[in-house]
Amino acid sequence: MSSPWPCAPAQAAAPPLCPVGQAPQNAFFDTLENPASGNWTSATLSGVNHWDLGAGTPPADIYWSGFATSGVYSFWGYNYDFVGDSAVAMTASVAVPAGARLQFSHAYGFENDPATFYDGGVLEYSTDGGSAWTDAGSLISAGAGYGGVISATYTNPLGGRNAFVGESWGYTASQLNLASLAGQNVRFRFRIGTDDAFDDYGWFVDDVRLYTCAAASSKFYTLGPCRVGDTRNPTGPSGGPALGANTTRTFPVGGLCGVPYTAKAVAINVTVVNESDYGNLRLYAAGGALPGASTINFTASKVRANNAVIPLGTGGEIGVRCDMPPGSTGQTDFLFDVTGYFE
């Protein structure tokens, strides 16, 4: 599934589909689990086709099983050691609503060395039913973006173009702001260009979604009061060490104490104890921007508690920032109890 490749350095973080408190409303969403859908087709523009590796008969042979983010199937375009320029494209256009975004999950490894990107992949869109195609790289607003220019020195048909290049180190995601395409009928395609030497993993693509974000309401569910995390416990994801001055840490909430991973927010009681300096904590949805809003203020060596409703990040986690005076070497223990969640 979506595990990183061995020894992976940091990947580009998959961006949240929508801001906190909003949910996606799909205009097009394909998890690529139905090879008979007819939603996609591959085209060879020159040289080899990279995408026809699956078991089915065309066009279903573009569905590859074994390295998907959702379900079983994804697209896989292999980075051949032959000259080629080919794409998988949507077979129908989608009317783009105002405020729309496109997000897709992908993993790639294209032939490169430290100085040169030999092969790569680009995302393109068409507003005329698939005749003319325009590069969509400038619309990428979050997640993995184009990483460099494919070398024009060798035989790559896409030489000279900005592209997804090098390694993604496992699955990540890219999000596009489609504001400039609102009101048009648009289709997208994933296009690979390779030169005449050396192969690589290629490009895996899954979960292509064109959508808008709208406010999503939730209902309250009570829980028996339960301690979710306590830094006085042995070192671990929900335990020690104590929070250090001016550092940020994430704590898992979803999956603990009866809080489902799908919960949008939790009702918690936050306690600080063993503070060695004064300060405050900021709790927020993990993965989001650090807010300017605080949850609890404290002075040294005085136990304090406060209740709060805190949104959860996409992984069901909260971020906790421990603010103390600049240069402080202080720390505080932190524990939090849940009494209910919103979903």
Binding site: P19, V20, G21, P291, A293, V309, I310
Partner: protein, 162 residues
């Protein structure tokens, strides 16, 4: 006739009792039910900011001040109640704050209490919002009678009900 008059008398008497009871506990009309919406934690009022509708000056002893809340921090104008974290800072006297919907009668209920040595103290609360001019939330700063104290107020939001 006699029995009818008797029933009326009993009815009026119960109504009078009910009015008296409502008068004692201060009126609280139930409304709803409402659904919850999260927002990213966001600072909506800070009286340490430059003077303005959501900024300075600090709250004065035994005075009420109203703030605009809706339309900021992702909270729509149609929200009925807001999830606040109420923080006080740098008080010069002890006291408490009462938060209540703008345009309604001030309640007896308080949201946070402090002593003068509390340099910063916070409490979470869900408070309904109202409308009075451009303002949605009123804050009464209770301090000892005759006090000339001040306290800074910081309001952070993490969600709303609608």
């Amino acid at each position: 006739m006699a029995s009818g008059a008797s029933r009326n008398f009993v009815g009026v008497g119960l109504l009078a009792l009910a009015v008296a009871a409502v008068g004692l506990v201060s009126p609280a009309e139930a409304a709803g039910p409402y659904s919850f919406y999260s927002v990213s934690p966001c600072r909506v009022v800070d009286t340490r900011w430059a003077a303005g509708p959501t900024g300075g000056p600090a709250l004065n002893a035994n005075a009420s001040r109203s703030f605009p809340i809706l339309g900021a921090c992702g909270i729509p104008a149609t929200a009925k109640a807001v999830v606040f974290n109420t923080t006080i800072a740098s008080p010069t006297d002890y006291g408490d704050l009462r938060l209540y919907p703008a345009g309604t009668t001030m309640p007896l209920a308080s949201v946070i209490n402090w002593v003068t040595s509390d340099s910063a103290l916070a409490n979470g609360a869900i408070v309904p919002v109202g409308l009075s001019g451009a303002n949605h939330l009123s804050v009464m700063c209770d301090m000892p009678a005759g006090s000339t104290g001040k306290v800074h107020l910081i309001l952070d939001v993490t969600g709303y009900f609608e």
